[in-house]
Amino acid sequence: MTLKVHVLRTLLSGAALLIGVTFLSFVLMVYFGPPLEYTLLGKNPTAEQIESVRDALHLNDPFFARYLHFLHELVTLDFGRSIVTGQPVGSLLARTVPISLGAVLPGFVLGNLVGLGLAMVAAHHRGGWVDRAIMAASVSGMSVSLIIVVIVAQVGLCSPLGLNLFPSRGWRVHGFGDYLLYATVPTLTLAVVALGYNTRFYRTVLVEAAAADYVRTARAYGATPRRIMLGHVLPNALIPITTRVLFTVPLIVVSGSLVIESFFGIPGIGQLTFDAIQSNDQPVLKAVVSLTAVLFVIVLTVSELLYNAVDPRLSHP
């Protein structure tokens, strides 16, 4: 199979996935979303007013007419305006996505890099006390709730009971100094929370790769442990690592991190999504769900390409 055919197949399956996901999410929103007419109307609504609101929101239109309208919005990337704030959904996303990236991305990268480093150390000392200590710390880290880590970080770093070095919440970013001030604690929190999961996962992957024949051969040739780890084990473990990293990206870009954004008062996409769920702001929800699906399809395609780059055998069976 040529690379072109492989990519085409991936894109086709991605398109099918996209239609399935959007249809499913649309059905869920239409039939299981909270009724808007009762939240939009004030006190003492009459039956006539309720009907009038339903008409205004096209809730009385046939199902497929509404679904086709939704697909049209998706294709044109024009999701209209938020029912709650009246702002264009596009401008809401344009405002919140960069904030989420700025707040969440450093913690995500740090958590992965440090996790990978610790995993390499643990894999290298497999079975030894260093390995056990790192794994014990990882399991402990995985066992602690994110909210507990947030509270400990806020008290320890942002309150007079601790070091009181950073603001406890907010996102009043006017320059790089402000950015460091407001992003540091969320970054550390995210990194700490992700570290346990990442270290454990990466160690498993690396240990498996280290058991391969070519590693034994490399050892027989007298390669140094560092060279074996960086030159042979790590490149061969890149497929699961890449998969894990890439498939997290859409969640960061479109979903953000609700808990982090909520506890640290960061007006990102996670907070926007949560508010939209609570108020059944369907234009926003449709945009977030659809764009997440689109991004997943893109990631799927990119990861397929990367697999081929990392391991050319995949496209030449």
Binding site: G86, G102, R169, F263
Partner: protein, 606 residues
């Protein structure tokens, strides 16, 4: 070996690229979020906190305490509530005097202050705010009756003002006149009512009634949900899901504070330094930053940090951390030096209404069954343990009272009969037995809540109360709705036997509470209990057009007793709200009824 070294270098290069990309990505994202320059350090900033976020700043949807709070800072209302007077008292705000009312009570003439200007905004010609006129008031109220606007506030004036409803039904023609809502000239408004409605003045102090210029609506349309163009003391300069920033409106009129007129009491308000604002013209701070912090621990961390939030509501689960006593609230020594504290009762209540349209608990065409159902409701009321609910869920600081006359109202009587709120499981069991109710014949009782742990705990406690009066455990059933909207729909459609909810007074007049039991307001209206009592309805119509006084109070008490005798609801409890704020903030931060009006008087001790 050279090939291996190259492989290794390639790997290192790849990871280096990842690191650089991440740093650049973070930097880029930071650059994208960068907005404006750094704030001036000398700016005097009041930092407040809300325990929930306002979803919108559109006056058409000012249905929450939080939206209302912000709107009252950015816009003007014709009337407002005095800062410190309790019971609450109205005063002119944009109006220059209280209305002149015709002899028949149907025509109100309201004079407006001259030389009041909207804040400068690009919506106006040359960006310069123009004078506020009576035409703007007419425009702002009739916006609610344009069906395309989906107003949540039209109910305040529905069927009250001559021609207004019909204007909306006729298509809301902007050029058409409305007979009952006219600007006689730039500074005189005339309202003609369809019938006596003394509460109209209260409606003109609500966030729904703020004065919006037509230019702003034409320019920004739906985006008025996130920006403001008003004539209030502040204007919104930033608003998102986590905070709102208001800057002083430099064109706000000069109106020196008369503390005595505002209801100042040297003894009651001692320690708050309020005397420092007497005779000075607000607003006193340059900027108000309000953080929306629903998480209790985060909010209190921010408050006690010292350089962040200065005013916050103390959450009930954390009272023990900060308070040495709860009623009245006083702070622990560690906090008493640096903070003020204030406890106020909410202008509303929590209650459970029976759905009287429900066949198992409500009215029946069979007189005998009707009587049995009433006995069943009365027994459930007797079995409900209000003191325990208050202690477990509201830290014991709420106030339990009989019926619907809330403690903050002037009509409240502490010596009223307490039978309907006295826990009497023995009496309940007796009543059930006398009316032939047994474990086998008792109908299933569905207790519906929106999904949350706390709501489930409320159900568990309720089930415990009911088991104690002989209700089989399996017949007290929990029904969880995913969202409050789902639950509200079930109430409106009369699907549930019991409606457990809270009601906050829109304005301090019991008419606003008793409408909950007025027959014509039956579901989907606010009478979700579907209570039908012609005698009550007649008294409601009579009392609602009377001025405050002993005669009206007597009618309200009769109406209250009717709802108690008919066992319409398990009622009620008013929660206490405790605020804590830094001692260097001059304020009386009671947001009840007064709303965001208090922040115009807030100052800082430098």
């Amino acid at each position: 070996m050279a090939r291996r070294a190259g492989y290794e270098k390639g790997t290192v290069r790849r990871w280096r690229t990842v690191v650089v990309a991440a740093v650049l990505g973070g930097g880029l994202a930071m650059a994208l979020t960068k907005c404006g320059g750094a704030p001036d350090e000398k700016t005097r900033v009041l930092r407040h906190s809300f325990d929930e976020a306002p979803r919108t700043l559109d006056p058409l949807r000012a249905s929450t305490v939080y939206t209302n709070f912000v709107l009252l800072n950015a816009y003007d209302t014709l009337y407002a509530y005095k800062y410190l007077a309790r019971p609450y008292e109205l005063k002119p705000n944009l109006a220059s005097a209280m209305p002149t009312v015709s002899a028949d009570g149907l025509t109100l003439t309201i004079p407006l202050k001259p030389d009041v200007f909207f804040a400068d905004d690009p919506a106006f010609a040359n960006g310069k705010g123009r004078e506020v006129t009576a035409h703007d008031v007419v425009y702002s109220i009739r916006r609610h009756f344009d069906a395309t606007n989906l107003s949540q506030g039209a109910w305040l004036w529905r069927d009250r003002i001559v021609g207004l409803d019909q204007w909306g039904r006729d298509g809301a023609d902007e050029n058409a006149d409305i007979a009952g809502l006219r600007a006689l000239d730039d500074h005189t408004l005339q309202i003609t009512l369809t019938g006596p409605f003394p509460q109209i003045v209260h409606t003109l102090a609500q966030g729904f009634s703020v004065v919006v210029p037509r230019e702003a609506v034409d320019t920004y349309g739906q985006e008025l949900a996130v920006r403001t163009v008003g004539s209030g003391p502040y204007r919104v300069t930033a608003f998102d899901s986590t905070s709102v920033t208001l800057e002083r409106n430099p064109r706000f009129r000069s109106e020196p504070v008369d503390l005595d007129y505002e209801g100042y009491d040297a003894e009651e308000h001692a320690g708050y330094n309020l005397d420092r604002i007497d005779g000075r013209s607000p607003p006193f701070v340059d900027r108000i930053e309000i953080d929306f912090i629903p998480e209790d621990a985060s909010r209190m961390t921010s408050l006690t940090k010292g350089d962040e939030v200065q005013v916050a509501r103390v959450p009930a689960p954390l009272y023990e951390n900060y308070l040495s006593s709860k009623v009245p609230p006083s702070l622990k020594p560690a906090y008493a030096q640096d903070y003020n504290v204030l406890g106020v009762l909410e202008p509303g209540f929590l209650y459970h209404s029976f759905n009287l349209a429900h066949p198992d608990f409500g009215y029946s065409d069979d007189p005998e069954q009707d009587q049995r159902n009433r006995a069943l409701r009365c027994a459930i009321i007797k079995g409900f343990d209000w003191p325990t609910r208050n202690e477990r869920f509201y830290a014991g600081v709420g106030q339990v009272f009989p019926g619907a006359i809330v403690p903050v109202s002037p009509e409240y009587r502490a010596d009223a009969d307490q039978t309907s709120i006295t826990h009497d499981p023995e009496g309940a069991r007796r009543l059930l037995a006398e009316n032939g109710w047994t474990a086998d014949t008792l109908p299933p009782l569905v207790y519906a809540v929106s999904a949350s742990v706390r709501q489930q705990q409320l159900f568990e406690q309720f089930r415990g109360f009911m088991q104690a009066i002989g209700y089989p455990r399996e017949k007290i059933r929990l029904k969880q709705y995913a969202t409050f909207g789902d639950l509200a729909e079930a109430w409106k459609l009369s699907e549930l036997p019991l409606i457990n909810k809270g009601w906050t007074l829109d304005y301090p007049d019991l008419e606003n509470i008793f409408q909950l039991f007025y027959g014509p307001n039956q579901a989907p209206g606010s009478n979700e209990a579907n209570y039908q009592n012609p005698e009550f309805d007649a008294l409601y119509r009579q009392a609602s057009v009377m001025p405050p006084g002993p005669e009206r109070t007597a009618l309200y008490h009769r109406m209250n007793q009717m709802t108690i005798d008919d066992c319409v609801s398990i009622s009620g409890l008013s929660r206490s709200i405790i605020f804590m704020w830094h001692r260097d903030v001059i304020a009386y931060p009671d947001r009840n009824i007064v709303g965001g009006h208090w922040t115009r008087y807030a100052d800082l001790i430098d």
